[in-house]
Symmetry: D2
Subunit: 324 residues, 4 copies
Amino acid sequence: MCTAATYKTKDFYFGRTLDYEFSYGDEITITPRSYVFNFRHMGTLSGHYAIIGMAHVAGDYPLYYDGINEKGLGMAGLNFVGNAVYNEVEEGKENIAQFEFIPWILGKCATVKEARALLANINLVKTPFSEILPCAQLHWIIADKNEAITVEAMADGLHIWDNPAGVLTNNPPFNQQMFMLNNYMHLSAKQPENHFSDQLGLKAYSRGMGALGLPGDLSSASRFARVAFVRDHSVSGDTEAESVSQFFHILGSVDQQRGCCEVEPGKYEISLYTSCCNGDKGIYYYTTYENHQISAVDMNHEDLDGNTLVRYPVLQGEKIHMQN
Amino acid sequence: MCTAATYKTKDFYFGRTLDYEFSYGDEITITPRSYVFNFRHMGTLSGHYAIIGMAHVAGDYPLYYDGINEKGLGMAGLNFVGNAVYNEVEEGKENIAQFEFIPWILGKCATVKEARALLANINLVKTPFSEILPCAQLHWIIADKNEAITVEAMADGLHIWDNPAGVLTNNPPFNQQMFMLNNYMHLSAKQPENHFSDQLGLKAYSRGMGALGLPGDLSSASRFARVAFVRDHSVSGDTEAESVSQFFHILGSVDQQRGCCEVEPGKYEISLYTSCCNGDKGIYYYTTYENHQISAVDMNHEDLDGNTLVRYPVLQGEKIHMQN
Amino acid sequence: MCTAATYKTKDFYFGRTLDYEFSYGDEITITPRSYVFNFRHMGTLSGHYAIIGMAHVAGDYPLYYDGINEKGLGMAGLNFVGNAVYNEVEEGKENIAQFEFIPWILGKCATVKEARALLANINLVKTPFSEILPCAQLHWIIADKNEAITVEAMADGLHIWDNPAGVLTNNPPFNQQMFMLNNYMHLSAKQPENHFSDQLGLKAYSRGMGALGLPGDLSSASRFARVAFVRDHSVSGDTEAESVSQFFHILGSVDQQRGCCEVEPGKYEISLYTSCCNGDKGIYYYTTYENHQISAVDMNHEDLDGNTLVRYPVLQGEKIHMQN
Amino acid sequence: MCTAATYKTKDFYFGRTLDYEFSYGDEITITPRSYVFNFRHMGTLSGHYAIIGMAHVAGDYPLYYDGINEKGLGMAGLNFVGNAVYNEVEEGKENIAQFEFIPWILGKCATVKEARALLANINLVKTPFSEILPCAQLHWIIADKNEAITVEAMADGLHIWDNPAGVLTNNPPFNQQMFMLNNYMHLSAKQPENHFSDQLGLKAYSRGMGALGLPGDLSSASRFARVAFVRDHSVSGDTEAESVSQFFHILGSVDQQRGCCEVEPGKYEISLYTSCCNGDKGIYYYTTYENHQISAVDMNHEDLDGNTLVRYPVLQGEKIHMQN
C-alpha cells in the first residue's frame, strides 16, 4: 500500500511512499506549461502550471502517482481498494477521468483553496486510460503550505475531508482513520506518567515508553497512526538538508521491508520509492528500496515553458560512498 | 537506546544503531594487528586480530561501540542501564575492564565458539577508562556467521545467553526479552486467518494485517520485538548491494526519529548512526541521522599489520545526488 | 455506558448491562396488553403485545431501558452520546418520540422482520418526555431468535444496520464498530500458531493465549470487541439454567467494576444491573452490582390482559446463602 | 489456569478463581485444631491453627487449593507449569511435600511475618501424595491483612517475593509478571490526556478510555495485569456485603467463560469456582461457574477444637430468586 505526508519548516514538503510488489516503470517527470493535456471529456488544456512528480509515462501521457506544481501545490493518489467508486459521465459536471485527476488539479490550482473551488463541480468518472490500464482504485491527498485535504469518491458520493493530520494511507475511509487516532491520544514523546498504582513502584525501564501502544505493523490503519504520530512530533532544523532528512525519517517510520508483507507466496510488497517534494523550490527528492541515497530533480533547472515532457530515470542500486 | 542485529546471505552482516541525544565524537577506527593494547589488569596485547568499528578515540585508545575483526567476529555494546553490574578485580580471573571488553574479545577470538571459551574465566571489572569517562552500563552481542550470544554482567553474575534471534536492544535482560517474544508468536507476514467468527464476514481490509499487534514505539522491548520480526522475515538477494540494502531496512524499522523520544525538555534521542559490517569482507558501512547515503570503510584497503590506529571521520550531512 | 447481547440455545436470550454512576430508580415492569399508550404524535394504542423489561416509571409511564414482548422480540436502548440526532415532527411520517420507541416497536411487532417494516416510515422525533426528563441520546438493538438489527438516528438520517454480531455498546456508530472487528479476526479460543519464526522456539507459556490482543478496558469499542468474541465463542448446555448462567458470563466479560471508570472525582460508573430475558418464556432475569444472585420476574405469572403496569422492585444487596 | 487476589476494607479478604476443564471433586473443608497432620518427612502435627478452604479430600486428607486459618492468614496454590521444580529430601532442612505446603504454613503461622520465618528453612520436596495424585506444579501466594508474598520453587532455588500487587496468576515467574506491569503504568481509571497532538482535536469518544491498552484475553500475563489494575483501583463500602460484593467483581474481571479457552477439541477451561475468604471472620464465600449466587461457610459455626474434617459440598446450579 502507500503512505503520504506533509511537513513544514521554512519551506513546504510533500511526499509519499509507493508500496507494491512490482513497479510499472516510473520516471521523475516534468510536465512543462505548454504540454497539451487532452482530457477525455473536458477538451484540451495547454496553458497550465508546470508539474514535477513520479509518473508512469504511457504514450507520452504522464500518469502521475504524486507531484507538485510550480505554485507549491502537491497531490498524491493512494490505493483505496474496495472503497473507491467512480461515476458515469454526467452532463453539467466537469467530468474528469480518475487518471486525469492529478493533472487537472495541479494544472489549474495554485492552492488547496483553489482546488476546493474546482472540486465543487467535479465528477470523477471511470473512463479508463486504456484497455490494459484500467482505473486504479485510489483516494487523494492535496496539500499546500497552509492546509491539506483528502478526496474520496465512494458509493455515497464525493467526500472532501479536511486533513489536519497531513497524512494519508489506505483503507478504511479517511474519517474512520482520523476517528481511530482518538485511541492513541494518550501517546507521548515523553515518558509515561504512572496512573496505574502508587503502591507498586512502577517505573519506565527504557526511554521511549511514552508511545507504548503505537502499532508497528504494516497495515494501513497502523501506518496511519504511526506516521501521524511521528510527523506530529517531528523536530528538525529548517535548512533544506535538515528538512529533507527529517522528512525521509518520517516516511521511514512506515517503510515496508521486503519479507514482512507477503502478498502471495514469494511475492512481497516493499516501499518501491519514497519521495519528498519541496513545494517552494520545485525539487523532487526520492530514495528507492535499493538506494538509500537521496536523489533529486529540480524542475527549475528545466525550461518550464516547453511542451514536451522532461523525464529522468529513477536511479536504482545502492550508491555507496567508499571512504578508502 | 540502541538496537543491534545480524543478517546472513552469502556473507555475514552485523550492525547496530546508536541512539542517543548527542555524540561523543566518533570515528570509523581500524586497529591493526600490531597496535598495542595495554590492558589495565592483563598486561599488553600486541599481536591480535585487526578490528574495524565505530569508536570514540580517547588518547589514542579506541573505545569501540561496535566492530568486527578480520575473522568475521562482530561485537557491539548496548545500553543496559540499571541492570549492568561490574565486579571488583579478583585474583585468578581474567580481569577485563568494561571498556576493554570489545578489544579483548575481537582481538583474541575468531569465532563465537572461541569467545565462549575465553569468557569462561573472565571477570568484567569496574575500572573506569578515566575520571571523565566512567563505566557505561552495557550488555553485549557477539556474533559470527554461525551463531550469536549475549553477555550480561548483572548482580547475580555473568550471563552468557544463546541469541537465536540475532538481535539485541536494551532493558529488560535478554532472557526476558526472548520470553516476551512468545506473546508475538502469532504474528505473520501473511494475512491473518479468521478465527474470530465464521458469521461476521470479517476480512482483511488492508495488506500487511498479519503482524497486527507488533509494537511501533521506541521502547527497548518494542524495538526488540519489531526488529526480531523484521529480521526473521527478511528476504533479499545475496549480492553485496542487496544484502547491505536489506540490512539497513532491517535496522530502519527501529530508527529513532527526532522528536519522538524526548529525554528532557527539547532534547531528543535519535539514531545517531546505523552500521552494517560485512564480516567476510571487512567492510564497515554506515549511515548517519543526517546522511541517508551509505558510506563505507574497507579494512582491507589499509595496512593491517601496522601499529597505529587508522581513523576515518563519520560523514555528516545529506549527500544528495542531483540528477539535473 | 452499556453493553447488550443476544444468545441462543434452545430458547432465545436477550439482555444488557446498564452502566452508569447512579440509578434513576428502576423497576421490572410488565405492561399488559390493554395498558393505554398515549403517543405524543400517533394517538393512543391500547391493544398491543405485552412487554416485560426494566423501566423507570414516571407518572405511570414505563420508560423502558430494555425489554421483550410476549412474542419474543427484544429491544434495548444504549447511550450514543454525540452521535444521536432526532428530528422535528414531519407530516406524513410516523412521528415517534425517542422515549416512545421501545413501546412502539415492542407493542406492535412480533419479529425483527415486522420491526423493519414498521421502521420504514418512522421519524424519530425530539419531543421530550417532560421538562425534567429530556431526550436521552441513544441507539437501539432489536432482536429476535432469528436476527438482530441496530437502529441509529444520526445527522445523516436513520440507519438500520444488520447486526450479525448480536451485540451493541456505544460510540462509535455501529458500522465502525463492526469494521474494527476486522482488526481482531486472528483471535482464537485455541492456542496461537507460531508464524513469527521457526528458529526461536517460541511457545505458548499459558493457556488462553489465542486471544492475545483482545482489549480489556471499559471503553465502548473495547467492550464491543470483547463481548463479541466471548459471545461468538460461547459454549453451554441448552437447559434454562445453563443458558441463563452462560448469558451472565457473557455480559460479565464487560462488567464495569467500581473504581475503574472514574467519571468525575470520586464518582464511578458501574454495571448497575445486568439483564437476561428469555424471549420464548417471557422471563426477565437480572443481577445488580450489589447482588450476584440472579433474580427473575416471569410475565406469564401475571394477567397480561390487564391495563395497569405491574411493577417489581429491583432487589439490591447480596443474598448470600449460608451453608452452616 | 487461576487467579488469586487480596482486598482490604475494614476486614481482610483473600480469594481466587480455580480455572480448569474439569473438577477433581472439591469441598469446603474445615480442618479443626486437633486434626492430625501426618507429614511425610516432618512427623505429626496435631495442635495447629484451624483452617477453612477449598480442598479435594483424599482418604481423609485435605488437599487444599486455597484457604485461610483462624488467625487470618490466607494461602493459595496456583498452576506454575514448566517452572515449578521440587527437590529431593535433604537432611537438616524442613522437608515439606508440595501437597503439604498449605497445611504446614496455615497450621503453624499467624502472619506472613511468621511464614517468612518458617520458610527460611523449608525444602519443598517432590514426594507425591499418591501414585494417582502426582505433584502439581504450583506456586503460592501467602497473605494477611498487612502484606502478601509469593513463593516459587524453581530450578534455581526457592524464591520468596514481596507481592505488593496482592495478585497472582500463573506463568511467567512472579518477578517477570511484576516487571511487565511497567508497560501498563500509564493506564488510568480517568480519561486519557491528549499528548498525541494539539492540532487534531482528538477526544475521548467513550467513557473508560483511560485504560486502553489493558489486555482482555485469558492468558496468565494478561489476567495478571487486568486483575492488578482492577484490584488497585477498586472502590467499595466497607461493610461485609459491600466488600464481598466488590471482591467478586475484582475476580469477575478475569472470569474464564466457557468456550473462550479451548484446551483440546471440545474441552474448555472455565472458572470452576471463585472464592473470597474473610480473614478476620473466618468465612469462606464462593460462587461456581453455574451458580452466580454467593454461598458461604463460616468456620466459627463449627467446633474448631475437633479432630475430624468438617466438609460442605460445593453448591452447583443456579439458585434463581423468582420474584413472582
